[in-house]
Amino acid sequence: MFSDELQNISWEHTSQAIAAKTAADVEQALQKSKDLLSVDDFMALISPAATPYLEEMAQLARHYTHMRFGKTISMYVPLYLTNSCMNSCVYCGFQRSNHIERIILTEQEIENELKVIKELAPFQNLLFVTGENPRDAGVDYLEKAIQLAKPMFNNLSIEVMPLDVDEYARLTAAGLYGVVCFQETYHKARYNVYHPRGMKSKFDWRVNGFDRMGQAGVHKIGMGVLIGLEDWRTDVTMLAHHIRYMQRNYWKTKYSVNFPRMRPSENGHFQPNVIMTDKEYVQLMLAFRIFDHDVDISVSTRENKEFRANIIQLGVTSMSAGSKTEPGGYATYPQALKQFSVSDDRTPQAVVDDIRNNGYEAVWKDWDLCLQ
């Protein structure tokens, strides 16, 4: 389990090592980046020492992306099934103590949402999102949602609470392709500051959830840290360790990463501890592509449209569009509370036009249920 491995990686030493990286370390990493880089090389690429190398990194990242993915951006759309949640994540608008209307979409409502999504654009990649409510929106509920979506979508993923191996296997058998789960932060000592109660307060259960996904044979696993909690450089280095660990142990699985930058939460109390600039975000994205040529890098509508348009050639390989981040937001309850506010509220067509203007093809379908 990764929790064992993580015990041997010191947060403080990692932070110091990143700060100590030099231009020579960066150049060495770039020179050998045709082959698989080590986490130590990755640390050089995200370090302050790499800032003067951004253009060079961009050229390399674009080259590796073209070789592996071509000039394509894969399109996906999220569907929030419920905002009910037993957790108390201090930064989240869905946290339990917030007095908001809690919605769990019924089967009929899910069907209505799916139909409206299909009218928006020819989406095939659908991501179900829920809060943590195993009693009323647990595995039975998710399995039902998958069954409802299967006739209309070829690629189904979930972003929900960590599950058991058996539960992941059951959903995979029902037609699930991918699982997205963000560790939020790998800083174990500080983790409970942000996640004080509920199942999510159990750091090891969450961090070992990725092993359980691998053991269950999930086709694609999405990983990430929430930028805004702890020092981002150290946190993404832990993510780099984690992804290498996963690739060694669960070699049949594809991986994707996402670096959501925290935005002001609906409850208004929590403000990010760390602000990541656009330049730093780009550095991180380029570094991750150079570190791993094959990982899918996903950028959601949290980022604004100007920024998303500018990064199309820099390593991103999947994007959401037209997203509603409230349950029932497409058809049923368009006024419900959002988990986070969307910065890029353009229609899918406008996003696709932008992708095409960059010389890229927006790919709606990159999986077929007949293959699993």
Binding site: M67, G70, K71, T72, W251, W367, D368, L371, Q372
Partner: protein
């Protein structure tokens, strides 16, 4: 130049192409037409075989182009057989490029599962073209199992590294009773020429064309390279000379 025949079907062009990684589907169409390719592989994961309006398929409706559905994405023989059968039903095509690579990173083929799937699909009436490592023994086994051709790699998919497996390809070409199509890893027209000069029956190119700055011109360059390589093979390349021939120290006693 001699035509290539696979499973009774005649091809004038010995350049097969792929459809992934292009910046647009119309660019893909233009490049494929420019390449002269008559056999074009499409990933079942990318096309909607049940839709008449699938954009990739719409761009490939040319009398010269034959589609070769591939099973990229499956992890074992059972999944591959199922996918091939569905594709046959929907598209009415009984040709399949068998791609079983459970490792999504290097996309290297699982020989054991590929052999099992080839057996099942060939028995079921498919024209099976399996993508595999450049493994001469496996190629002979696939031939026995009913493969219509074998598709050993030159280098890992998308790596553009050229004929890294040269010595093994040489043995495969020497031994094979079915056409040998060098697939994957060919990054430059010169790589394709080299494969053809060695006696490969055809090559399959995707990334090197799709990821080029000008895919259409690159497609033409590959077309010319494949023709040049094949022509050289048919014209029988002069042997390389191994040093001077002035005297015959070993056989002079005979004269």
């Amino acid at each position: 130049m001699e035509d290539l025949i696979i499973a009774g079907k005649r091809f004038e062009s010995r350049l097969f192409t792929g459809t992934g990684k292009f910046g647009s589907n119309s660019l893909m169409e233009q490049a494929i037409i420019a390449s002269g390719s008559e056999l074009v592989t499409v990933a079942l994961k990318r096309v909607d075989v049940n839709s008449d309006s699938d954009d990739i398929l719409a761009h490939l409706r040319h009398s010269r182009i034959n589609l070769l559905p591939n099973t990229s994405g499956v992890r074992n023989a059972k999944e591959a057989v199922f996918a091939a059968q569905l594709a046959r039903e929907a598209l009415g095509i009984n040709w399949v490029k068998l791609e079983i690579h459970p490792d999504p990173k290097y996309l290297l083929a699982d020989g054991e599962e590929t052999l099992a799937a080839t057996r099942m699909l060939a028995k079921d009436g498919f024209v099976v073209l399996p993508y595999i490592q450049a493994d001469p023994v496996l190629c002979k086994k696939l031939e026995d199992a009913g493969a219509a051709a074998v598709m050993p790699l030159g280098a890992p998919i998308g790596s553009n590294q050229g004929l890294q497996t040269r010595e093994f390809l040489r043995i495969i070409i020497e031994q094979s009773k079915v056409p040998v199509v060098v697939d994957a890893g060919l990054g430059a027209p010169s790589h394709a020429s080299e494969a053809m000069e060695m006696g490969a029956d055809a090559v399959l190119i995707n990334t090197a064309i799709a990821a080029a700055n000008d895919p259409v011109r690159m497609a033409i360059a590959f077309k010319m390279a494949v023709e040049a390589g094949r022509m050289a093979f048919e014209a029988k390349l002069a042997q390389k000379s191994y040093g001077a021939h002035a005297s015959s120290p070993l056989t002079s006693f005979l004269s």
